[in-house]
């Protein structure tokens, strides 16, 4: 059991007071002039206001509709939006549930200590922000402002980021890099000199062949991609899915390669081998744009399909056949780089192999492959230059992860734990919109870091686990109740999207923009927040772009013409790539000079010991990580995760569908809660699978508490990618415990 010096405080203890506050703020809202304005002032017409979704990172733009009583009824997609094409995914549609969730954080809380007992007391915003400002000032004086770190995921990051930079710290990190897509960005950056971006620059709409490697599109509901995959299926595109699990995407595929887990790199190398040996690569493209082909050819010489068969268990003929499919479709082929790719610790190398394959097929810069996205040059509201921070966040992991192109969040977490060789540690964290205890593997390590903090501020909408360890909890209102920065995304066409409140903030909650500005004011940093309110700032930005807040309120999304007609390469075009050589680097000089293999090498990974199974985890289309697990509309669809077990394994252990079991991992870590077994042929016998984001351990989350197992809790062994600091999480093995004391959902039954 992981314990923390800081007592975990259950926010549930604050029921009555919060309710009283909730009541009063509701009355306040009734008399509000803003509410009158947005509800159509008694015209009886249901009114719509624009927003972009905050339930996941895809940030689809849509409309919030209200009924005659001014109650938020539904959210639908904006037809002009390239992220969603007028169609929201289940989570976006169910976004109303986040607004209606009665378990939301309702008022600021400050940790108090009386003897041994620690508890939260309710505080006013003024009090809470004064407390934080006081602590931050003290830390700045004692250790320097750069010892404050911000962890963020989502729209709040921009506001708090501004405050942090003004304060003098550049330590701003999101778990979306080193816990998720980092390896692919670095893998492609070192090869093509550019990253993939989000939404990904892959042209699924027009592809003729898409290869998914462990990427379970359809279960991870990347809206635009799922839509385009469906279009591609309609047009008869070939889908090749490599996955030890028969995923939804595998069910839509012409080829499903049920690969032995942790061997994907061998398959990729073998594909490269087949494509080179058969001269199935795009000769003109390779000659014109790439360097290192000869080294690559030499390197993969021995990686025959027969060699790969011994490692991956994939039939050599299937390897050849699928390579030929890619060749036939080239250049309209996408070897999908995926998104969550921090698996085994050599992930950048695997994604390098994906990038190399992409280059050989000539699909980078081609229709049906990878397009070049474009975004607007949106000016920032003029503010004084930010103070130069004394230390960069990369100094937190000096000499390590040298190719990381974004801040490595777990690097900052590690640098918070005092060690003899570290001169400086982080003393304060501001955590916004990410439940780090579910986002970072190895919870014990995270808790050790939290223990060392002098200040932990958590800004969230829900009482997720990390709020229980906070010194101050700030309740943010949901995205349906606030303005945020304009969404300015990289896409086929530059575009802007507006989020505006559809309703007054419920309870005593506030938008991140207000919280950051207020905190900055208390820290004496108002110079960097010179606008009266965020509306004024947005209006200024929009007017710079020839639009206005008024116009955006009406249209929600505005698409702009591209500056250059360069979505794809034109035939024979000379292209300079942003790499050392100016070419696509099949043989990576960046990797080489940083001391890593310049060409990807397969290394065998540890296999589960007898009686243990590799723990694989993934997504469900109706949930986003752990943040939607209490949403009433979405728990209606799925209120717990289940453990996929192959029937052979189930027979061996006497497991039955519907039975609750606990898990124990290789480090003797036993899951807090139990999980329901699903006996299914869709999973390999050497692994088990569950959806990430369940097993919440805060009773105040009335629909999520004790439902299923938190996979992160079972990931105690982390394989760090030395290239960019990614936390490889798929090297954990679990076994089953059928005899245990019942609690959580099963006890209720």
């Amino acid at each position: 059991m992981v314990t923390s010096r800081r007592q975990f405080i259950k926010i549930g203890a604050l029921g009555a007071g919060s309710l009283a506050l909730a009541g009063s703020s509701f009355n306040l809202a009734k008399g509000s002039s803003i509410l009158d304005k947005i509800s159509g002032a008694g015209t009886g017409e249901p009114l719509r206001t624009p927003t972009y979704c905050e339930i996941c990172f895809w940030q689809c733009a849509g409309w919030v509709y209200k009924d005659e009583d001014g109650k938020i009824q539904k959210i639908v997609g904006n037809d002009d939006d390239q992220h969603c094409n007028g169609r929201f995914c289940p989570r976006g549609t169910g976004g109303v549930g986040q607004y209606n969730d009665e378990d939301r954080l309702k008022t600021p809380l400050i940790r108090t200590r009386e003897g041994d007992k620690e508890s939260f007391r309710e505080a006013s915003w003024d009090e809470a922000l004064d407390y934080i400002a006081g602590k931050m000032r003290a830390i700045a004086q004692k250790h320097g402002p750069e010892c404050v770190a911000l962890f963020t995921h989502g729209s709040g990051g921009a506001h708090f980021g501004q405050m942090m930079k003004a304060f003098g710290s550049a330590s701003i990190a999101a778990p979306s890099f080193a816990q998720c897509r980092g390896p692919r960005e670095v893998g492609f950056l070192t090869t093509f000199g550019d990253i993939i971006y989000s939404p990904e620059r892959i042209d699924i709409r027009d592809t003729r062949c898409m290869v998914l490697i462990g990427s379970h599109l359809g279960e991870n509901m990347h809206n635009g991609q799922v839509q385009e995959m469906s279009d591609a299926i309609d047009k008869g595109a070939t889908i090749i899915t490599v996955d030890p699990r028969f995923s939804t995407a595998a069910g839509k595929s012409k080829y499903w390669l049920p690969i032995k887990p942790a061997t994907d790199l061998a398959l990729l190398l073998s594909w490269i081998h087949v494509i080179i040996e058969n001269e199935w690569y795009d000769k003109d493209y390779v000659e014109r744009y790439t360097v290192g082909f000869e080294q690559l050819k030499e390197h993969v010489k021995t990686f025959t399909p027969e060699w790969a068969y011994g490692i991956t268990t994939i039939d050599p003929n299937v390897i050849r056949e699928t390579a030929r499919e890619m060749h036939n479709a080239a250049p309209s082929v996408i070897v999908n780089p995926g998104r969550h790719v921090t698996w085994y610790g050599d992930d950048t190398q695997r994604l390098r192999a994906v990038a190399i394959l992409t280059a050989l097929l000539g699909s980078w810069g081609r229709r049906g492959g990878y397009y070049k996205p474009e975004k607007l040059h949106l000016p920032n509201y003029p503010v004084p230059p930010f103070p130069e921070p004394k230390r960069n966040p990369t100094q937190a992991y000096e000499g390590k992860y040298t190719l990381a192109n974004e801040v490595v969040a777990n690097g900052l977490c590690d640098a918070t734990i005092p060690t003899v060789d570290r001169s400086c540690n982080y003393k304060a964290w501001i955590v916004n919109g990410t439940n780090l205890l579910a986002a970072f593997p190895n919870q014990a390590n995270t808790l050790k870091a939290i223990d060392a903090l002098e200040l932990l501020v958590v800004v969230d909408t829900m009482p997720v686990e990390i709020t229980g360890y906070a010194d101050v909890v700030l309740p943010e209102c949901t995205y349906l109740e606030r303005y945020d920065m304009l969404r300015n995304s990289n896409h086929r066409q530059p575009n802007l999207a507006l989020r505006m409140p559809a309703a007054e903030p419920k309870y005593n909650t506030k938008p991140a923009s207000w919280i950051a500005q207020e905190l900055a004011r208390k820290l004496g940093l108002s110079a960097w927040f010179p606008w009266k309110n965020i509306e004024e700032m947005l209006d200024w930005q929009l007017k710079e772009m020839g639009s206005s807040l008024e116009e955006m309120k009406r249209i929600g999304v505005k698409n702009f013409p591209r500056e250059a007609d360069d979505l794809y390469f034109s035939p024979g075009e000379e292209v300079v790539f942003n790499t050392t050589s100016g070419k696509i680097e099949l043989y990576s000089s960046d990797m080489e000079s940083a001391g890593f293999e310049p060409l990807p090498v397969y290394t065998a990974h540890e296999e589960p010991p007898e009686g243990y199974y590799r723990l694989n985890y993934g997504r469900a289309p109706m949930h986003t990580f752990s943040r939607t697990a209490n949403n009433p509309n979405l728990t209606d669809l799925m209120d717990e995760n289940v453990l996929w077990v192959n029937p052979k394994v189930a027979r061996l252990w006497g497991l039955e569908t519907g039975q609750y079991i606990k898990l124990k991992n290789q480090d003797e870590k036993i899951s807090t809660f139990a999980i329901k077994v699903r006996v299914t042929e869709r999973i390999r016998w050497d692994s088990v699978y569950m959806v990430h984001g369940f097993g919440h351990n805060n009773k105040k989350l009335s629909r999520a508490h004790g439902r299923g197992i938190n996979d992160t809790e079972m990931i105690t062994r982390v394989h760090i990618d030395p290239v960019m600091g990614g936390t490889g999480m798929r090297g954990n093995f679990v076994t089953f415990i059928t005899d245990f004391e019942k609690e959580g959902k099963e006890a209720e039954a």
């Binding site: 169609r87 289940p90 549609t93 839509q227 469906s230 028969f246 595998a250 289309p621 042929e681």
Partner: protein
């Protein structure tokens, strides 16, 4: 006029967006649903096949629920859409027991509730039902079977399809493209 819906099982990913969209569009109470998603897996690893179906009331041409209703609350509306008139429904449960698809449920208000194809709130205004219009995979087709140019007519002309339990004799109007 004959309203019908076709669901492409080759495109549906089972995301259940149709279920949430129906819930918010039609004020279906939390804990209940008018549509749902079924996943059928056949075979043995690694020879597997999966079919995913977004299901709802089949708006049967020969509806056992309409037949069994003692008060006429369950009835055929425009285009053969099977509807329930709440103030005529006594909540006896006969229609629920009579539906081979389990497509009906007792609404907390007492009457029986089910999919309406969004007839009054959307279709009559020229819109698609909420589930069809939200579907990210565009796997659902809706329209009038008597109109050869409706999306549903067109897709049924070109694709192989099936209905659920045709042997129950209900003549369902929810088609699954296979």
């Amino acid at each position: 006029m004959r309203y019908a819906m076709a669901v492409d099982t080759k495109k549906c990913v089972g995301c259940s967006d149709c279920v949430v969209a129906c819930q918010t569009e039609n004020n279906v109470p939390i804990g209940f649903c008018r549509d749902w998603v079924v996943e059928v897996t056949d075979g043995t690893y690694p020879q597997l096949e999966v079919e995913i179906r977004s299901e709802r009331c089949n708006h049967c041409e020969n509806s056992p629920c309409v037949r069994c209703c003692p008060t006429g609350a369950s009835h055929y509306a425009e285009g053969g859409v099977v509807l329930v008139t709440p103030h005529k429904c006594i909540g006896c449960g006969a229609c629920i027991a009579s539906c081979p698809y389990d497509a009906r449920y007792p609404h907390p208000d007492g009457h029986v509730d089910k999919c309406t194809f969004c007839l009054h709130n959307r279709v009559e205004k020229g819109l698609d039902p909420a589930c069809v219009s939200v579907c990210p995979t565009k796997c659902m087709y809706f329209g009038d079977l008597d109109d050869p140019n409706s999306p549903v007519s067109k897709v049924l002309k070109t694709r192989k399809f099936k209905t659920l339990i045709p042997e129950a004799g209900t003549n369902p109007q929810l088609y699954f493209l296979i």
